[in-house]
Every structure is written in C-alpha cells, then in structure tokens.
Symmetry: C2
Subunit: 401 residues, 2 copies
C-alpha cells in the first residue's frame, strides 16, 4: 500500500513521546530535544565517516554495540557540536546519556546521544543536565514539533514527516525529524535524523532498512560538500502497532522509511544555507551506478553550476565541463544536457535557440538538471542540492561573529 502522510513527526508512531526545551547552550530558543519510546525498541544508527568523529557519535556507537541494537531514548542538543573536545568532551557525552537514563528510568546503554552546533567548544553539562530533567518532565505524545525545533541550528524551519502504511499484516506508522543546514554532504549517514516506527523490526533488519533508505535520500543530498563531524541518523522500532513484519511487509517498511527519509532530506536541501531553489540532478547513460552517482555528486557540488542556477542562467556548458572532470566515463559527442524538459546540448551540438525556454525553467523554486553521460550505459543516479547564493557566504562568514 502507498504510505499516506500523517501529522505527528517523530511522535506519530504509537508509544513515542518527545519534548524540546531551552537549557541555555544556545543563546536563545530551544536547544535540547528528548524522544522516548514507552518500551525498549530495536535501534539502528548510521554515522559520519569523518575521521574527526565527535564525542556523541562515539558514545552512541558504543551504546548500540553494548545493547545489541536496542534503545529507549534519544537525546540531542543544538548550539554545541561537542566535537574536537578531547577526553572532556567524551566525558560530557557520557554524562548526557547518564542524566537521560536517570530521568527516563532506563539503562544508560539504551540512550543514544547527538549534538550539533559549533565545533571545538566544551559542552556545558550543568545546563544540559538541567535541560534533560526539564525535558523528561515535559515529555508528551504531541511533543514532536518542539523537539524538531530544539535540534535546529541555522535551519530556517523544522523538518518533520510521518506516514501511515496499511499492509495485509496490519497498519503501522513511520515518522521522523531532522536538522540541516550547512556542512551537508553526508557520505554514510547525515546531519541529525531521528526516525521512529511502531512496527516490530528486529535490530539487524532495521539497520539494513535504514542503510537502504539512506542511500538514495540522506546520502543523495548536498548543500556545500562538507561532511560533518557529527552526522547521525537513528531509527527506533518499538513494535507497539502490533505489526511484526515478515519479508513481504519488510518491503513496505523500507519503502515507508525511504519516503520519510526523502521528505526530511529534501527539506534539508530546501532549507540549505542561503538556498532559494531545490535542484534535482539526474544523471543517466553511465557505465556503472558509482559513475552515475560520482557525476551527479560533482555537478551537485559545483559552485559554477550552483551560481548559474541561482542567477537563472541556463549555462549548460558548465554542466558538460563538470561531467567531464568528474572522473566518470563520459562521451561528449553523444552526451545530452537538459534543464527540466528542455534539451540544450545533444550529439555534440548546442540548441541555443532554446535558452529562453530553459531560463524560464530556472525561475521556479524547483529545478531539474538532466545529464546523459553518452556512454550508452544503463546506469543512473539522482542527487539533490540547492543553489549557491551570496547569503550562503554571508551566513558562513558571520557564523561565530
């Protein structure tokens, strides 16, 4: 069955509650989110491949290993990434988990932690501790919106999505929330993403489903080509719908999970730093999937492509140039480049008379760039990115000042 969107974000699934509070790590606004499952849930996590791994990532990995893929609570703060903070930072992340375990009433290894914000600043554990106690007291079935706000940094809006799936085995819900919005080019997992479901999914299968769903959602977006120190996506499955999925249901589950991940991932791109447009980069005619994705990634990260899109310039030559330098097999004489449905270059010849039509395509909030690599190969890949504006520069030149 097609998953149907429902309200409720990360608490849409049965048996999950959440809260978001202000504890003073950020100068203003909510900065601590707590998500709790009523009963022990299967849990899976995907983490950054950055070698400067942040302390909360190390602790969450440890806990998933110790608990053999189970968790009760997710706790996350914004305003401080707790990255590059050495042994003191690791201690702070452990304390954050211990405080949460105490407040929620669970084992410490059943707590997963995440942080986002400025790198290289120590986490104020006193403030975090007070925040955790406050959040535990404020937990409620409808706390998703506050939680989604509390994990934001430079995000212009919160990212939430949930779907309900009817299957022959019964109905279940998959929901989630995420934050962006700079240092975004997840290579393995991404940013912060929190998924919940009331389907019953064993930990190993949950991990495979999350990996599958992330590949063409969180791992297919980029704002600025920067893989962060803190990227983490977590999924909790508490089984409280009473629906235990067999192989057939598993496919429904992955599809629902992918749908939620995609909405959250696209939300991150739409809300990318300085972004004014969502850009879909579609690469076809590649000799392998890896080649297709490498070319799509190169185009999605090209400052010349992203500034041209920002300026509404149908500059297809830049698309050819980037495809050519991407390292992927590329036959310029048989390549094809289009903006939306408008083909601007094919069989070695430009169609410049179509430039005004292509320019009109670029005036919308959503733009598709289509590049066929001309090898005759059957492989294809899609990446999503945003345009590069002067606001990106302003936001990042002034981030800490």
């Amino acid at each position: 069955m097609t998953p149907l969107p429902v309200p409720g974000g990360v608490t849409a699934a049965r048996g999950f509650s959440a809260a978001g509070v202000s504890c003073g790590v950020k100068k203003t606004g909510p900065d601590l989110a707590l998500v709790v499952s009523d009963r022990l849930a299967s849990a899976a996590g995907l983490f950054t491949t950055n070698r400067a791994t942040a302390a909360p990532v190390l602790v969450s990995r440890e806990h998933l290993r110790a608990s053999e893929g189970h968790a009760r609570a997710l706790v996350a703060n914004s305003g401080c990434a707790n990255a590059c903070t050495g042994p003191a930072g690791l201690e702070a992340a452990r304390l954050m988990a211990a405080e949460t375990a105490r407040a929620v009433g669970c084992e410490v290894e059943h707590v997963l932690v995440a942080s986002t914000g400025v790198i290289g600043v120590q986490l104020d554990t006193r403030k975090i501790g007070t925040g955790i106690i406050g959040a535990a007291g404020a937990l409620h079935r409808d706390g998703h919106a506050e939680a989604a706000r509390a994990i934001m940094t430079t995000d212009p809006w919160p990212k939430e999505h949930a779907v309900r799936v009817e299957t022959p085995l019964g109905a279940f819900v998959v929901g989630g929330m995420a934050k962006g919005s700079g240092m975004i080019e997840p290579r393995m997992a991404t940013m912060l993403g929190f998924l919940t479901t009331d389907a019953a999914v064993p930990p190993g299968r949950l991990r495979r489903a999350l990996t599958d769903a992330a590949e063409d959602t969180f791992n297919a977006i980029t704002v600025d080509g920067e893989c962060s120190t803190n990227d983490s996506v977590f999924a909790l499955a508490n089984g409280m719908s009473g629906v235990a999925l067999d192989e057939r249901g598993d496919e429904d589950f992955v599809e629902a999970l992918r749908g939620v991940c995609r909405e959250l991932a696209l939300g991150i791109v739409r809300g990318g730093e300085g972004a004014t447009k969502l850009v879909t980069v579609r690469v076809t005619g590649a000799v392998s999937y890896a080649d297709a994705k490498a070319a799509a990634r190169a185009i999605a990260n090209s400052p010349l492509v992203k500034t041209a899109v920002h300026g509404g310039d149908p500059n297809w030559g830049r698309l050819v140039a980037v495809a050519g330098r991407s390292g992927s097999a590329f036959e310029v004489g048989r390549a094809r480049v289009g903006i939306g449905p408008v083909v601007l270059f094919a069989d070695g010849r430009p169609f410049d008379e179509r430039a005004p039509e292509a320019a009109r395509q670029l005036t919308g909030r959503e733009v598709t760039l289509a590049v066929d690599l001309g090898t005759g190969g059957p492989h294809e890949a899609t990446m999503w990115t945003c345009d590069l504006s002067a606001d990106y520069v302003r936001i990042n030149a002034e981030y800490r000042t």
Copy 2:
C-alpha cells in the same frame, strides 16, 4: 644562482615577440594574443584532464606529437572557449592554426592554439582570421603586456613574470604569462599559461621540467575546484641565449621555470573571482605526499573554510572537520591547527584565548592555514587558494547575462 626578476613577461627571453589585438570575439577589449619565436623552439604542453576536452587542446596535442615537440608560434583568444563545439569547433581550431602559420610563415604543426571564455559557442573564424593578420603585423619585442591583456576573461589584472638566471654556462631568461580566474583547479596543467626561455632545452627535458614545475605551482592552486575544459600550459625554449644546459644547468632551469610558474599561479589565485585574500594551506604530519596534498586540496576547496577566512573568523573547527573528511589518515588527538603562527588546537585541546590574535592574522591580504594531521608521518604539501566572497556568487550568477 638565484633567479632575478626582470621585466618583459613572455617576451623577456631573447628571440620572442608578441602582440595582443582586438578582433571582436569579446564585446570589448583585446581578445587575440600571438607569441612568436624567431627560430624553431623546443616545445612542451600540459593539458586539462577534463574528458570534455576543448578543440584547441586536441589540436595543440596533435601538433606537439606531429612536430616531435617543436613550435614557432602560440596563438590564443579569449571570449570563446571553443569547447563542446563538435566537428565545427575542431575545424575552427585547425583554421586558427593554419591562419597563424600563414601569417608567421611556418609549418602549421609548429603552431600551438588555445582558447578561453564561454563554453558551447562556435568560434567566429572570420574575426579570428582578421585578428591573426593584425597581430602578426603588430608583433614586437615588447608586446608582452598587450598579449597578457588579450588572454584575460574575468581576470582583474594581467599575470606576467620573468627571471634572469646566471649559470657557469652563461645567462638565460625564463618568462611567461597566464590567465585565471574562475573554473580553476587544474589537475594536470592549468588555465592558460605561456612560458618562454632562450635557454636551449631539448623537447623531452623541457616536458619533464614543465611537469615538475607545474606540480607545486599550477597544480597546487584552486579558486573554485573546477577543472576547466581548456586548461593548457605551454613552454617554448629557443636556445637564443646560446646557453645549452647540461645536468647541472638543468636544475637551475627547473628552479627558474618553477619560480615563474609560481608567480603566475599565485597571481591567478590573488585575482580569483571575488577573491580578497591569498590563502596558503600548509599540511604536515601526513603518512604520504598524496595524503598531504589531498588534505590540503580539501581544505583549499572547502566553502566553509573559505567563507570563514573571508569573514575573518578563526574557525579552526572547520579545518579539523575538513581534514577529517578528506580521506587522508588523521589523528584528531594529536593533530595541530594554526592560523599564521597562532596555534589554536593541539593535543586534543583548543586554545580559544588566542582567537583574537588569530583573527588579527586574518585581516591581512595573505593568510596561512597550517594543519598537522597528527599521524607523525614526515610528508607535507602546500596548496594556494583564495577566500569565497559574495562577489564570487555575483560574478558567476551573472556571467552570461
């Protein structure tokens, strides 16, 4: 002997003349450059690794092969890259060489051609032909400055340099000119660069010397991570100083050539699109040279690092994050990060009290970012880049409009 700077750019060496004229390919200003050696010279070329290779690159490669590394003339136009122009573009590049051979009075395979400008537009061969005849009539010993202007696109100023070297075998001169200024991250050669010398250097040795000199000059700069379709560096050695170099002199020659290439390369970075600062990225403590260069390249291309430098923010956390995602071996607990001489992070601990001092380092026109990868390895590498400003976005959002 230390090479001494001398005036004269690409015509500083004996037996070279040049001219730059307007032929109307660009809307305004000079757009055709011609450089001629009085006698047949050894010639070498390095070219883009972009698979969407432009027509003039294909023709120059062909000519270097046919002539076994000899040339009399270099001809280059700005305003049109003659890239993605198919068979008609190849024909145009051949015509450009043939017109030059006729005007100069040499074999067509002794002409090397280059183009720079917009991709995907056919070259107007009638205008180019008229320009070549005009330039051949205007050739003079002091034409270097006009030629250097005629190859500019968005460059804010021309790039020229020349040095004189005294050796036990006699004195010779190495000079050159280059253009930038966007689509700059040469991987094999670069942009357009033209080097001349009156030393006598056989073609094979000239090629090795040029490859050597380019590795830590043209191949160590980046403005925006974009390897162009037209990157070409040429060197001509006509022997008219009477100095024929043996092994000892060869070292002097490579050093002089590297010095000229470095000045031109740094000039390109200083004049990068929207650039306000020259940024030297120095990576040490790597397990291999490849790792050192990969980390330096990742930092030099990071939009978050480049915007922080632009904003004067000593945000060392971004340097750690980029080093961590670069793929190079990296030990965050033993890494060291500094801005100029100010160490901001070492042994896993930040020195935030030094931030004001580091911020002062960032106010200058030249900035050094130093990152030790903490592996204890002996390898190091340097890349040069510029900051990322809102002007880069403006220039590239409006390039064709």
